[in-house]
Assembly symmetry: C2
Homo-oligomer: 240 residues x 2
């Protein structure tokens, strides 16, 4: 496999960074090629606007999707975005390594998607879900969570992680065609002993070695729908 790891933590001594390095070494050890986009180290700018483009479709009024369509057709992305887009094309597995901040991705990672997953490059023209641009590629979220697991259940303050990660799994990865495998979650690494943290890194290693056969997160198939609405005769699984 060709694996792209997008890493979003500012501290090189963090557990997230340890997980990223564990993934690099584990995947390389079994012969996969690995690239890392270490967003903090790269000083990646997550703000999406005209700074994304070298081309201009409409100088009067910024319509981001119109500019993206135009830039996609005319090689109009700035060098740092084109480089990230090329990595996404290159890979056949994408790993997101991030801490859950406010029940979602840190802004630096959200902005990577806002800018890199552009119209004409990651979607457009009816290419979504099983017909998506990235169909055939795997995606895994590897996430640390500050609070204890009891918070993240139907009986806690929040909700199960599958629901919390729905915008990422369904709205970004599933939408653009990725086959999404079940996330790897570590709760409260900051309260663990060193031995416990090492054990969780071992768990992560085993998960990575089985990456291609892991259980998948359910995403819809376009054939289940007509005009965006589920057919009465559809596969029957409730979405969302």
């Amino acid at each position: 496999m060709r694996v792209l790891i997008v890493h979003a933590h500012p501290e090189t001594a963090s557990f997230n960074a340890s997980m990223m390095r564990k993934a690099v070494s584990t995947l390389a050890e079994v012969g996969h090629e690995v690239l890392v986009s270490d967003l903090y180290a790269m000083e990646f700018d997550p703000v999406s606007d005209r700074r994304n483009f070298r081309t201009v479709a409409d100088a009067e009024r910024l319509d981001q999707q119109r500019e993206e369509a135009y830039a996609s057709a005319n090689g109009g992305y700035v060098v740092e975005l084109q480089a990230e887009m090329d990595k996404v094309v290159w890979c056949n597995a994408l790993i997101l390594q991030f801490p859950l901040w406010w029940l979602s991705m840190p802004a630096i990672l959200k902005g990577w998607f806002d800018r890199v997953f552009a119209l004409g490059r990651s979607y457009g023209g009816g290419r979504w879900f099983d017909r998506g641009v990235h169909a055939g590629k795997l995606a895994l979220c590897s996430v640390t969570v500050g609070g204890p697991p009891e918070l993240y259940s139907d009986h806690g303050f929040y909700a199960p992680l599958e629901q919390i990660l729905f915008p990422v799994h369904r709205g970004i990865l599933g939408f653009t065609g990725f086959t999404v495998v079940e996330p790897f979650i570590v709760y409260g690494p900051q309260r663990m002993s060193r031995a416990e943290r090492l054990a969780r890194l071992g768990d992560y290693r085993r998960r990575l070695l089985a990456l291609e056969s892991l259980p998948r997160v359910e995403n819809p198939r376009t054939s289940d729908y007509e005009g965006f609405v589920r057919k009465p005769s559809g596969a029957g699984d409730r979405l969302g």
Copy 2:
């Protein structure tokens, strides 16, 4: 009321910007005080790390929450963050104006929360939900959505907007104590006629005039829980 509008769209001719201006004029007209944080116009930096702080609790290893606790106790935030924190303290109603990008907030707004809603300023020490720092304040999400409403239902590709906004309503606003009112959603303003857009701005005006009496989004109460887990004898409503 003292209303803070946090606005996250790069184009001043966008429908989001029209909604922001409609809110400013409507609220001012009936005597409320209004402040706007126009994040793109301010060139707000959404990346959270040591750049947040003038103080240093641990120069060796960045633990963001530890640095936040220390900065909160020692007036250690950089000027641009302290200014945003002061606005949040000042207001008794918070309006978020944003387009839904990838089923969540644009990175520039996500990073506003990552940086401004710091430990010791917006939460900490058992202050959450009904005991939260911002208890007694109202919050409203005013959101534009690119796709049609059929996509956002139990029978569409995605899920109802309430589920998609769960991380914001529950994890950020509810967690820090805000009373969250039902969101104002406009689907597909880019495909509307000018007359339709004006009609939706009129709807928004009426919604704003009723802000204090709008239906609320359900959030948990700390008294329903012991040790983070819902009591069997609790209020009985399923979370999430």
